[in-house]
Amino acid sequence: MIPFEYHRATSVTDALTAVADRPDAVFLAGGTNLVDHMKLGIVAPSLVVDVGHLPLTDVDLLPDGTLRIGAEVRNSDLAAHATVRSTHPVLARALVSAASGQLRNLATTAGNLLQRTRCVYFQDLTTPCNKRVPGSGCSAIGGYTRYHAILGASEHCLAVHPSDMAVAMAALDARVVYLDANGEGRLPLSTFYRLPGERPELDTTLPSGALITAVEIPPPPEHARSTYRKVRDRASYAFALTSVAAEVVVTDGTVSSARIALGGVAHQPWRAHRAERALVAGPATENAFAAAADAELARARPVAGNEFKVELTRRAIIATLTSLVERLQ
């Protein structure tokens, strides 16, 4: 780690001003990913602006039913929040499936969104990685791919986004609220995260120098049921091989609404629109769930070493939807 200056931001405006003419400055919140990256040498900022003490720690239910989550709300607090548990169980379940109790006590909403891939090559400075050093190559291609993408990858990057929380938020049509020199902006999660394409070094479309201040989740449809299923190599404290965030409304045996996002399989939380379209207005049966999973995964392009993730994801989708319907009976 190289020596760096430290500034504890006194307000959002102060934080924006502090990084304004310092392109290598970084915002620090919980630090669980950033401090690790500074130790590993993945980033070497000359200025760390601490936004972890800003009063962005409220979770508010707005009059229209929107849930507004402050950027600095700790993951553990969000998972335990009464409204989240009762109204958006998929989000609470995603949060408690991630990391460990100690890390969830440090990690924040915005930090979770902006955490970076756990691709082993991204984290290993001795190997080429287009995400870490643009143009250097992708070591995952022809390498260890168990934790890599089967959807939406490019010839430049096979990395997946590691968040569980963001997968639930993608299913719930969340919006990222940020502030920059131009004022307040909003990005739907569907455009906040990028696919790697030819610029895998860019994880998101967040403007440079912008600070995330909140995440907004619109109210769910009436009678919605939701849950999160995570499949991993060990029972706890591991990243997803694949995961499914799903919310459905079933009326008299027919699916009237479905929102599904997949984790651990793409450079972004993967919104399964094709599966959703296949489900809506159809029967809530296992056969229909399988057909919906197939509709989505027809686009899957696994690489050598992660072919199993297609069938694993298919089964995870079916199992998740089935568990939601079983609870209705």
Binding site: E5, Y6, G31, P89, R93, S100, G101, Q102, A235
Partner: protein, 171 residues
């Protein structure tokens, strides 16, 4: 003017106020062990994966290897030492002794701090990955204890006795 890369900070550690000028790069763990002589929290992986460095920071269990000291100016830190001494053992520490919840002992201060923080989280109604009903208070079964303590590794694999020790305190 050369950049300022160290900061004067004050923290409370195990009840005592401690002031120190610290390089901004130093973690809470290294501040405690190398600068303040508080060696109860241990350095295992130094990447937030093993839990040996767990303390209670402002009342919550956290891994101190991923927390910068400078970002925690003003914090209240309680390490395993601060929970009680040999004459006034904390109930969790006593349960680890009674149930033989360790072998080499290296992970134990982190395990004990983590268990104390975890029991408070359960008391406050926080759900876990294995909690069946998100809206009901969790019943602290062995499965709940294992899930909630998964951030603390024990390479001697004293897990059955650690679970028994924590269960004895909880029930």
């Amino acid at each position: 003017m050369s950049p300022v890369t160290a900061t004067d900070i004050t923290v409370r550690v195990d009840g005592a106020e401690r002031s120190v000028r610290i390089d901004n790069r130093v973690t809470v763990l290294d501040m405690l062990r190398e600068h303040l002589g508080v060696t109860a929290p241990k350095k295992g992986c130094d990447h937030g994966q093993c839990g040996a460095c767990t303390v209670l920071l402002d009342g919550r269990r956290v891994t101190t290897c991923l927390a910068l000291a400078v970002a925690n100016d003003g914090a209240e830190i309680v390490t395993a030492s601060g929970l009680g001494g040999t004459d006034d053992l904390h109930p969790v520490a006593k349960a680890f002794l009674d149930h033989d919840g360790f072998q080499c002992g290296y992970c134990t201060p982190g395990q004990i701090c983590s268990a104390v923080g975890m029991l408070d989280e359960v008391k406050a109604g926080a759900p876990s990955h294995v909690t069946v009903d998100l809206e009901e208070p969790a019943d602290l079964s062995d499965a709940e204890i294992r899930e909630r303590m998964s951030g603390n590794l024990c390479r001697c694999a004293a897990y059955p006795n650690i679970v028994a020790a924590i269960g004895a305190v909880a029930r």
